[in-house]
Symmetry: C2
Subunit: 234 residues, 2 copies
DNA sequence: GTTACCAGGTTGTCTGATGACTTGACCCTG
DNA sequence: CAGGGTCAAGTCATCAGACAACCTGGTAAC
């Protein structure tokens, strides 16, 4: 993967408008200047302005009506919780990210312990077996690891927690890959990680929500430590 | 606010492409057909195709390079956790949403109890005073209520939890407003809600993370019940 | 085998046009 | 006077065409 190139005009114009909204220059309910005017102001073609506005419509920041204009929407219309690319995060931000991930995952694990059924357990066991094999063979255990966490979230019976967890874990995957690229570390699954997975599974299998929560949280804290991310105080 | 009009072409084309990606028709790393081809396939102008692609670039689903083409990105590049408009959620989905909100907010409250400083407490006290006034006068307490939760999240010292909580609370605000529009309920702040806010504040002020977590969770469960949303089993 | 050049293809941006929609002003009728 | 209809101006939505900038693969020359 090469270095990312500079943002193109629509992305840049969108960023400026978004900043102006955040700064209060355009308040919710306010109308943006017409596209033709913005085209003059930014010194770009109307197509670029339209693409920028289209981007911000995706975000839920703007809405437009033919013949009427482009309106700034209330914050409640924001359609997404966003995170910037993790390779730009400071150590402090990474620690906060891991803390959030730990919160979400451990509570999801607690719910999984309460709601798991036989099929859930079977799936989780299958992931454990594949991870155990990866440990033994010293091969890449990333696939079954991701699968384990996905099935755990599935067992929580809460679709939103599942989706949030998948989003956060995909972010974490980036952190891990970046860390690997900067060291000689391989994708090999450490035996210690596998042991932690097994403990989480035992707690879930036993229907012990409190243990699942505690062990899951420790697992995430250990994961952060393994990446050289210190935990937050108090 | 009138009924939302039908999605325009760029939004519709973007949705089709996103679905095709989700279905595996275009896998991560794969190249989409050229814009000119997509223009033919969808029977729309190239501008519409470009706007659709621009939308999906905002999502982190696609990336494009001049002269090279449009690539599908790996799920890890997704930049957002999204939720559809809450007024379209079933009762089951609302219950799951409130459960997620409860998880996030109660853990944030626990962290706030551990990390709050004098300035945090002062701000929270100010919100309580304004809410108490609203209760006494029977006026709209929504503003200070939202402000209370924002300051609580700020006290957690975790920027991501704060942002996630604000996103979820803005969603919840929609649920509440929708419920009000369908009943004769006013924006008046019930005394019971205020009491719960006060209890949360006491726990945070005392630095009692466990109490803050427990009371916060109960507060959110009560909030759901007040909206007629039943809690999830086990 | 390596390097340079070129043609073809693709995205990025611009320009101009037309259609669909909104709003406000003005006029007419009851 | 109030209400309804019409029209012009303004605005977004979409289309079409053109050119610039970039990428890739093939070929020719050394």
């Amino acid at each position: 993967m090469t270095l990312p190139d500079a943002p193109r005009l629509p992305e840049r114009v969108a960023a400026v408008i978004a900043r102006q909204i955040a700064e209060g220059r355009y308040r919710p309910g306010a109308k943006l200047p017409p596209e033709s005017r913005l085209s003059e102001v930014f010194g770009v073609s109307r197509s670029v302005v339209r693409e920028a506005i289209s981007r911000l419509k995706t975000e839920g920041l703007l809405d437009s009506r033919q013949g009427k204009g482009v309106m700034v929407l209330a914050p409640a219309a924001r359609t997404a919780f966003r995170m910037e690319a993790v390779n730009r995060l400071s150590q402090q931000e990474l620690a906060q990210f891991y803390e959030m991930r730990s919160v979400v995952e451990s509570e999801t694990a607690a719910l999984a312990a309460r709601r798991r059924n036989a099929a859930d357990l079977k799936r989780l066991r299958g992931c454990l077996a594949r991870m155990a094999q990866a440990v033994e063979e010293g091969t890449d255990g990333t696939g079954p690891d991701v699968e384990f966490h996905r099935n755990l979230a599935e067992a929580s019976g809460n679709r939103y927690l599942k989706e949030l967890m998948e989003f956060l874990n995909a972010r974490a995957g980036q952190v891990i890959r970046t860390a690997r690229d900067h060291s000689s570390r391989s994708a090999k699954l450490p035996a210690q990680v596998q042991r932690e997975h097994e403990e989480i599974f035992e707690a879930i299998s036993a229907g012990d929500a409190e243990a699942a929560r505690r062990i899951s949280r420790r697992h995430l804290q250990n994961a952060a430590r393994r990446l050289g991310i210190s935990t937050l105080g108090a």
